[in-house]
């Protein structure tokens, strides 16, 4: 237990759908639907899945930027699910977030300096000289220069902005960083710069990452373990090596085969899935994937498979492995 920095049990998050003649709630989007996992100190857990499957919601919920509907969250062994607002705010220095959109996540009216100073102010660094020093350090850490401090976000390229976002997260010396698709808005040549930076920082500051992405290549590159999400559920979770070489869940298999590989010689067998991802407002009964699953069985349509360890350290939720 001690090596687990964060643990999540049966996490659920749903958003109400309003409608009808009086704006009443007429349904809900089950964005995260009963998810359990843990992250060990110093490791990177990758989370992949198609758009809308609930990756971001999971990330935000476990930082309690969104209040969980159900489930428990433990941080360093301590339950934080019901922590009062004040204490939670203090805990924020331990867990930080890096966002997907480098354009939207920086306040366009603040100078970089101010952006980086803010977390310091919030967490009680009152001496302004001290703060300035720290800002300079942070910029250096993420490969930017002192003179960048006086600029506004719009004067930076996407990759540079993402560095600023990372610096902001680092400002308070967090233990955990939830990186929500930090590179998907970037071009390949820039993407690799940021990925390298993230790796370097992890080593230097002994960080733990929850790394959310939809690019399987990127996830493999950076993660120690990888979880695959589908319609608000984690369908498979294993060491990254294991998951990529030996996928168990049919969805994982399909996903892996669907990725085009930049290699002309590489021949592979494609599993092309039929149809689209169903709506999380109205997910299929039983196994959420059974509507598209090439290996669907009769029971898949009404019985929800359990998420359990099928091999050592390799978890999956599929009736094939029962």
């Amino acid at each position: 237990m001690t090596d687990r920095l964060l643990e999540v049990e049966g996490l659920k998050k749903s958003f109400p759908i309003q409608g009808g003649a009086f704006g009443k709630q007429i349904g809900e989007v089950k964005a995260v639907d009963d998810v359990s996992f843990f992250i060990k100190k110093g490791e990177t857990l990758g989370l992949v899945g198609e758009s809308g499957c609930g990756k971001s919601t999971t990330g935000k919920t476990l930082l309690r930027l969104l209040e969980p509907t159900e489930g428990k969250i433990y941080f360093e062994g301590k339950e934080i699910t019901n922590l009062p607002k004040n204490e939670m705010r203090r805990l924020r220095r331990e867990m930080q977030m890096v966002f997907q959109d480098p354009f939207a996540s920086l306040n366009p009216r603040h100078k970089v300096e101010k952006i980086l100073e803010e977390p310091l102010i919030v967490h009680g660094v009152t001496d302004s000289k001290e703060r300035k020093k720290r800002v300079r350090q942070l910029l250096e850490i993420v490969g930017l220069n002192d003179y960048h401090a006086k600029r506004y976000p719009h004067q930076f390229s996407g990759g540079q902005r993402q560095r600023i976002g990372i610096a902001r997260a680092l400002a308070v010396h967090p233990k955990l960083i939830v990186a929500d698709e930090p590179v998907s808005a970037l071009d390949v040549s820039i993407q690799s710069q940021v990925l390298n930076l993230l790796k370097d920082l992890q080593e230097e500051f002994d960080l733990t990452y929850l790394f959310i992405a939809h690019d399987l290549g990127v996830v493999r590159h950076i993660s120690d373990r990888v979880g695959v999400m589908y319609l608000g559920r984690i369908v498979e979770l294993a060491d990254s090596e294991e998951l990529y070489e030996n996928p168990k869940h049919p969805y994982t298999k399909a996903l892996l085969s669907a990725v085009p590989v930049p290699d002309v010689d590489f021949q592979k067998e494609r599993v092309i899935l039929r149809g689209d991802v169903p709506s999380p407002a109205n997910p299929p009964a039983g196994c959420a994937f059974h509507t598209r699953c090439p290996a669907a069985m009769e029971q898949c349509a009404h019985k929800r498979p359990l998420f359990k360890e099928v091999e050592k350290g390799h978890y999956a939720a599929c009736h094939l492995y029962e």
Binding site: K60, L63, L65, M88, R89, R90, L91, R92, R93, Q96, M97, F99, Q100, D101, F103, A104, S105, L106, N107, P108, R109, H110, K111, E118, P119, V122, H123, G143, L144, N145, Y147, H148, K150, R151, Y152, H154, Q155, G165, R168, V172
Partner: protein, 288 residues
Amino acid sequence: MNVNEEEQIISPWKEAWRSFRKNKAALLGLGIVMFFILLAIFADLIAPYGFRETELANKHLPPSSKHWFGTDEFGRDILSRVIYGARISLRVGFLAVSGSVIVGSLLGIIAGYYGRWVDGIISRIFDILLAFPSILLAIAIVAILGPSLQNAMIAIAVINVPTFGRLLRSRVLSVKEEEYITAAKAIGMTDGRILFHHVLPNSLAPIIVQGSLSIATAIIEAAALGFLGLGAQPPTPEWGKMLADSKDFIIQAPWTVFFPGIAIMLTVLGFNLMGDGLRDALDPRMKR
């Protein structure tokens, strides 16, 4: 890292000013507005006569070198009255709009930030106020308070409150959803700080844009109330009132009607041009 050393630090405001400066129409608008502001400030120095210098014998003199814009029914110099009128109209515009900005923004922020029933009530009040054609509402308000410039100003401020209230509310709601707000929350920032350091500064630009456009309408509304006899009282040289007072002489002394009308139109045009320019320069949708 190839950073161009000469590249300057451009704040969003500076950048807005840059693009504003390139906009000829906007500059023209700014010029017109500045012109009238200067007229207003230095009216005492510029105006050849006092605005209430009555000389009944000089009644209705046509424009001449002595009286560039002619004289009115009381023999007062119209040019001087138009110049002093700038004071009135600009003051009405600025004060009335400031009033609506302050009250409207406050209500809008409260509504947008607290949501739920607070939002419900405030938004309904805005809906209700907006459901009345504004001039009718203004007339009713002035009727209660009694006709005077100050009361006309209050009426105009009241009818513009929902405009700013709604603007701010929707701004707060949309800024609240921005990722940098989530980022601020993730840092552990308090709600108050988020409001004042993130939400408000990012709502300023649309307020400025709307404000400058609203000053334009406020000036027209004040003139309209003056025209109906519900605004400034004599001998205040309010443009609308000047129009109303001289509309009976449109045939004998057209200049008495022409110049105040032109003054209103130019000022309003100036604010509109400037407002349009500001919108182009400040509207974040145009950026990136």
